[in-house]
């Protein structure tokens, strides 16, 4: 029952009272109008509508900031006409409507349908609670019937990833299959590795004539470095305490984007990639290859958000044994001072550790780079990175205002020039 029905009957009473008080029949006659409206409201009470809702969107997985069209079809499955039906589609938080309307006001005959169409853009995440509410009411506004329809069909919005060029890593061990990583083993490949004495069956074009000319009665063959695939484990640090924010920028979002981009790149390069999201829980994607694995990794990083978990505030419970022995671990984390012993332990166990570390100091400081506080924080971080390098981890200090691609390229160039210098010395 709505307010209006109460008003109709209240006015009947008021006019009757007025009629008695003034001894004027006209007021009693006016009360008849409201009495008829009240009775008509009761007789014409809307029945609970039998509605069918069908939501469709394709594809079910999209990239962040890619528009997606959603269509919600409302069908009157009952046998009576619904005169005044209003539908409101509520979208989960994080979804923005770009075009179209999420509401509908219509009248539906039996079996008739109406459509709500709109285009959305969503932030990274897994959305699976779309709620549509409907209200059927009468013209005299005396009654209304409301209800809601919950839709659990999931929509996955993948993080925005960059197209990375092949990442140069040196895992402690490679797999038997041909891939893109120099395996420090002789065999068929592109890069020169060493020479050895000619053995029958060696292709003639691999004979190193210069080396052979220096020795009497001996032939030497060029051996190339085998390029193979590796086991790569990505660790995404999702601990709440390291997730710093500055306005709309969040360290964690950058980490997620980097994890997704690196995962895609490693899969494209043919590596066996696994993922561990550490912080809110210990979500894992077991090692695997190919498109399916890429989808699994993207699905995992899509749904993650930093949550406080007191058991996982440091890397004490990091299940490193989840990764195959001697695999390359790519740790995506801003890294805290307390984490260094755990990273050292990983290195000591024989894992190759590459830490891609978004720099929280630069993110928070922005332009305030002259202050003492910034310089102290930056020095502390530089010292921490130096410590990590000393224990054998490769560290890429990532200023999140730059892209992952440019940071990786710069780091690779820096590493190459350092190696070159070492050789010269």
């Amino acid at each position: 029952m709505k307010r209006n029905l109460f008003i109709y009957f209240l006015l009947v009473f008021v006019f009757l009272l007025l009629g008695v008080a003034t001894l004027m029949g006209e007021f009693v006659a006016l009360a008849m109008i409201f009495l008829v409206l009240g009775i008509a409201s009761i007789l014409n009470q809307p029945q609970p509508p039998q509605l069918g809702f069908e939501r469709s969107f394709s594809p079910m997985r999209i990239r962040q900031s890619v528009p997606l069209q959603i269509t919600l079809t409302v069908t009157n499955q009952g046998e009576q006409r619904i005169t005044d039906l209003s539908v409101q589609d509520y979208l989960p938080r994080g979804i923005r409507v770009l075009k179209g309307q999420t509401t509908l006001l219509t009248t539906l005959d039996a079996g008739e349908s109406a459509v709500i169409e709109y285009t959305i853009q969503a932030q990274r995440g897994q959305y699976q609670r779309f709620v549509s509410t409907y209200t059927s009411q009468q013209a005299l506004d005396g009654y209304e019937v409301s209800g809601q329809f919950k839709d659990e069909s999931p929509l996955l919005v993948y993080p925005k990833t960059e197209n990375l060029s092949p990442v140069k890593i040196r895992p402690p061990q490679t797999h038997g299959f041909a891939g893109s990583i120099a395996s420090r083993r002789g065999g068929s490949g592109v890069d020169f590795f060493t020479i050895r004495e000619y053995q029958s069956g060696d292709p003639q074009r691999h004979i190193n004539w210069k080396a052979s000319a220096r020795r009497h009665q001996a032939l030497f063959t060029n051996i190339f470095e085998q390029e193979q695939v590796a086991n790569i484990g990505i660790i995404l640090d999702a601990r709440q305490r390291i997730n710093l924010r500055k306005g709309r920028h969040s360290i964690f979002e950058h980490s997620v984007n980097a994890a997704a981009a690196l995962g895609e790149r490693f899969i494209k390069d043919g590596h066996r990639v696994s993922l561990l999201i550490y912080g809110s829980g210990k979500r894992r994607v077991f090692p695997g290859y190919g498109r399916q694995q890429e989808r699994r990794i993207l699905d995992a990083v899509t749904a993650v958000s930093p949550v406080v978990n007191f058991a996982l505030t440091n890397f004490d419970n990091l299940p490193v044994q989840f990764f195959p022995a001697k695999s390359q671990i790519v740790l995506i984390s801003p890294i805290l001072q307390d984490d260094i012993p755990y990273i050292r332990r990983m290195c000591m166990r024989g894992y190759g550790v590459l830490a891609v570390s978004p720099n929280p100091v630069k993110l928070v400081a922005e332009d305030d780079t002259e202050s003492t506080a910034y310089r102290m924080a930056a020095a502390e971080r530089a010292f921490m990175i130096q410590q990590l390098r000393q224990i054998g981890a490769q560290v890429i200090d990532w200023d999140v205002t730059n892209t992952v691609e440019s940071t990786l390229q710069r780091a690779a160039f820096h590493l190459q020039s350092q190696q070159h210098l070492r050789r010269l010395v």
Partner: protein, 173 residues
Amino acid sequence: MAKLTRLQTFAIVLIALLGAGLAALSFFNQLAVLMMLSVLLAAFWCAIVVFGKPDLHLAFFVAFMVLVSIALLDGVPFGWMALLLCIDIAAWNLAEFSRRARAYQNIPNRKRLENLHLKQLGIPLGIGFALAVLPSLIRVELPFAVLVILVITAVVLVGVGIRGLREKKEKWE
């Protein structure tokens, strides 16, 4: 300012009609204050319907109803007052509906929806108006003797009915 919808226009026309009608009737009955008030209220209400806010339609409806009652007390003919009250109710309903519809951009079959709304509003309002006005038009003259006979018959019938029901109840017990 958004383009006016059909029902919004109807509401404005009804409000204007209500204001003008009440003002004219007040003028003929020399009720100057009532005349000015009705014109002012109608103008404000029209403006609110056009701009869509604030939501004061109920207040204006009540205000006009009060004016109609005052006019009736001051001897303005009942038939006109009943008509103006019906217009007041219709204007209130359409103004409320227009305000609600304003929140919805997606109204695929607006005309059919509006027609059904008008129909559902018009029928009870018409019946209400007829029931209110008809008793004032119908005049039945009965001789006193017939009236007494009718009353006695009614009393006897009621008595028989009550007795019959009581016997039925005793049998049941």
